[in-house]
Symmetry: D2
Subunit: 367 residues, 4 copies
């Protein structure tokens, strides 16, 4: 199994370096007949793109997707779908100074230790640039899930530094550059980010992602559990250091009588489980939360070593996000959508399509 691929039946393989000729992906296993056009990718790629507000990296990503294969007369044919984006605004010269140094907190050091060679231009393969292709692949998964099962996947920023939302309004999320669910807090976030950018420092964040409409029965025990695969998929996003399902770490201090979700003939009475029991969806909303560490590439000098082991101070002069978490929302959505679509196909393989086994209990009250 390629370590640059994920998924069992819906398989996504990505390739490309930040400042190489192009990035791309191959999506294999998509059912035939789905309508796909190059324009379908614009919306989510714009949501993920840098350069659209002053709060993200100044690199301008045009990100025009070319469909190279797998689509004929506007519909998927069942053969692999290859997507390609040319890299156009690389500015490799920004990085030459640090080619022989290891930025603290960055993958420079570990790639060099593993391979004995690395592409230093813009972080090479370890750059968040790679996540563009996840978002593109996720567009296909979102569309199929919506059309086939009515499933939607949405995310929002749930923490920025020490700031947390004072409420939750889905309609606010897409109206600010932070994917923040409370419109009133946006000015405060902007001030915070302006000060942070000025300081040269960066900060961590948290993103929540939820899926509505997931039927019960998706997920494969024991090592293909829905939550296990969500954990792998979300942890593989650059800078992510933790993943929670449902109540997550708060569960440590809960009693069993608090945590367990009672069931009534009308559905579940609560959703501490995040819509997953025993690794299988229950029909409730599937909820996950991730944390992203602060960007490691900083203008503020930091002690490190060079490739010869000498002590040096490193300053990163390229264009970087002061908070990588801000743009992570569409990436997290994409990863959840891809996992769900893969599990939907696997469930259909073993158990027949949803509906074959009649669920006798409404999925949930809130879901």
């Amino acid at each position: 199994m390629s370590s640059n691929s994920f998924g069992t039946l819906l398989t996504v393989t990505t390739f490309g370096e930040s400042h190489g000729p192009a990035i791309g992906c191959v999506i294999d296993g998509c059912p035939p007949g789905l309508e796909i056009s190059a324009g379908d990718f614009d919306h989510d790629l714009q949501r993920r793109a840098t350069g659209k507000s002053r709060h993200t990296s100044a690199r301008r990503e045009a990100d025009d997707v070319e469909i190279l294969s797998g689509v004929y007369e506007g519909r998927t044919t069942g053969t692999p779908i290859a997507l390609l984006i040319r890299n156009t605004d690389q500015r490799s010269k920004d990085y030459t100074a640090i080619a022989q140094q290891f930025r603290p907190g960055h993958a420079d050091y570990s790639y060099w230790q593993k391979y004995g060679i690395r592409d230093p231009r813009g972080g090479g393969r370890s750059s968040a640039r790679e996540t563009t292709m996840r978002v593109a692949a996720g567009v296909i998964a979102k569309k199929w899930l919506q059309q086939r099962y009515g499933v939607t996947v949405r995310g929002y920023l749930s923490q920025l530094g020490a700031i947390t939302p004072t409420g939750h309004d889905w309609s606010a999320v897409e109206d600010n550059p932070f994917f923040w669910p409370v419109a009133e807090q946006v000015p405060a976030l902007e001030s915070y980010m302006d000060a942070l950018r000025k300081s040269g420092d960066s900060v961590g964040a948290r993103v929540n992602v939820v899926a509505d409409g997931v039927p019960p029965g998706w997920g494969e025990p024991i090592y293909g559990k829905l939550d296990g695969e969500l954990a792998a998929a979300l942890m593989s996003i650059n800078a992510v250091k933790g993943v929670e399902i449902g109540d997550g770490f708060a569960s440590a201090a809960q009693l069993g009588t608090e945590h367990r979700d009672l069931i009534t003939p009308q559905g579940f009475a609560s959703n501490h489980a995040g819509g997953i029991l025993g690794g299988i969806s229950t029909g409730q909303q599937v909820t996950a939360s991730i944390v992203l560490k602060p960007t490691s590439s900083l203008r503020l000098p930091g002690a490190t070593v060079d490739a010869d082991g000498n002590a040096v101070d490193v300053i990163t002069t390229g264009r970087h996000d002061p908070c990588v978490g801000i743009r992570a929302t569409p990436i997290a959505e994409a990863m959840m959508a891809l996992v769900l679509m893969d599990q939907a196909l696997r469930h259909r393989a073993q158990c027949g399509d949803v509906g074959t086994i009649t669920p006798r209990i409404p999925g949930s009250i809130d879901g």
Copy 2:
């Protein structure tokens, strides 16, 4: 890929239900020549076993491991190693009353929704009984990692309900039934657990697991990252609702200058990253933390429905742990060891053995 298997080169496939004839596993890909005897499994299986203190389930697991294959004259031969444990103390009659009901918070409901049929005896396949085989497989991984690379994997309970350790002493961990790292707190934990058991309720917990001696370079970007695979492996443990690497969720409120681990010619100056950058080990201690939800099987009645959708109250009368987290420490160790061994083999395949690429920087100060 079997969903009851995990690992790419070191592959573990488990089978068996809680109250079926037996549980077992097949471990494939182990290098030849490793000394293994049935007695090697005793220590960790005893650490995981129920029935050894009043704080865990009263079910007595004898857990005698039979080696069915893959070992000749005391050494592995490179062929698959099959391990078998007969189930002896099942008491199926405890469960008959609830065969038609869904315990809230339990996989009863989701298995039934997925498959339309389920083995209700002791939770069937969804029982934590399955983790016995993970621990057994982990024994082999621990032994190989230790002998081949000097890597050790250890864990401890880092939260029980609202109680957290007031210090950290590895030498205390194995001297109490909780794997607690502070000897002085043990009496308080015992009182807490006695009261909890008496109340009929259960509580959540947190377990930390760390690996010492991991060389730099293990882990495969992008979708085979060391942290991504740890997340999947740990989240697949029964009742786990969250996984952190390094500083985990605390990273959300950190600044970049706080979080990044500076590097000196003598090694790393801190380890907020948990020993992993870009999905690849850095040579520092690899650290992970997991949360386990409170046991869902309770003596206290809870609202649910039966298979016909009627409202009923369910009471679980079987023998259950009031805190499943207590016995999770050896399970989490096993999962980390299995992931590390698999990554070690994959690294050796692509990049040659450790030592081929000379690391010029000491792994870390603290590691």
Copy 3:
């Protein structure tokens, strides 16, 4: 991926050595609800067993299958099905003399070269004993294919040394110990085998296996083609040195106008393709043929070397089949059935169940 596993969605993992405590397998991914009992395995295991006529090895294989998991109240539950057979009639002493020698034509030498250690008892893992578990797993695949899609898989011996069938009568195949399709030739085969056994030599053979009722559309281009997977599955059987689909090697001398199967509104007019085009089934009979080399373990001495590289003559005194091909028919059937069931599940995953896409042309005239 374990190299002792095969299949993508229906995954079979086998374990065990010829003279170890037991052999077994884990079958994962079987749909829930299929009726399975231990008795279901008797028929095909008897067909494969040694010791039932004088023309096969004198080793008596009782081969009682124990179902360890995955079946509840007589039906599959969707969880892994583990099957176990204890080895009872091993006679390890037969093999001690050759533990330090490499039988020419046998895997002794290559296992030792690969692993530096080997289990010499009865060929260890390389023994045809392993194929018992393929046959057992195949029983489940055959039953599911028959019940779900009306597919049947049958085989016969199509060459024994230089002897080929003079006709074809399915009703004769199960009435003689050779699976030979012409009753009148059986006495000649018996005489031939008696003389061969007396001489101490062995001989090669050919087995044909065919599937009827396979709907069009099974098989996954490009590297999961139905014929590619059949080739891998059949070549993995001990002693197999070649695999053909349809007309196979005869195609080399055919013209395009001879080979292509014309299509009429009533179906295909011929079946040179063996029911597969572009790696996908056409709805015709799927046909394959394999060749098995003569047994390498002979009573007649042969030049070889010992583990120290010294020239020695080896004589094999254990019980061996003078023609391994004779018992290969049920094994080949099992492998074809397992490949078909796996492809059926994969097709259902990506394209929905058979019937969703309406085929407008009758599958074939002859199929």
Copy 4:
């Protein structure tokens, strides 16, 4: 696992249709540090290309390979290597007439049955155009095998219609457009092909491929056997209907004393086994032979049906090879090289590098 990928550790994923914008592949798992430039691909792509002699399709394939990723300053970095070739000479108009018809013997019918939709331009995904990327990927495998282990992989045409070589001279193979190993027979082959092309018919062929220098120990029993994986890889080549290892189907009529390769202190005395015993290489030459059916796309009319089931006569007017086997030699070499490289990496993972386990017997006399 993507069905458009193959390999376990060296994974090749291909994409693209015959007349779409481009074809390409992603090669993952290549060790770092291998020198690769775009020019490396020219030689083998030219060997495979159409349009270079009158005996192959008139389509002119320029086949300029663009390296999109995974190579930095001329060396592989260990990250995925993406290769792209734009399709430039498609002439889609040739195919419009047959978009609603199924060419007999072609994948048109089975793709349509499977997916309910197909790209009719030039055979779409089922076109032999896809094999271009196998050859490109094979270039990398050949180079690595040669540099790392001194392994070479070579092939030749071993049958064209009823014509077979009268001798074997490796030096002749690359000096004629047929890869024929006997220079004196080439004029006769040219006359044969000229007459065939004039007739509008096509013919089958056979290709042999051999690897020299393979060390003992490569191959993974039981379901990852070297011969099993070669069978799958070779059978997946368009038009292949059979695969043999070593003596192949001739083994059916051999006695054990004829077939078994005796061993002397100087090495093996013969190579009926084709260099593989028990699925593991012995150190001898690895030999395989494949058969390719005659091209199904013919100028001569053939009975078929259209998508509505009506009887029609189909004539293929596009440019096609009268014998697809002629260009299959470099494709077969590529597939063997890719399988060997993958097995070399897997062997290194489990057993350490070649040399760790000292083989005490010279690999072979002839190898």
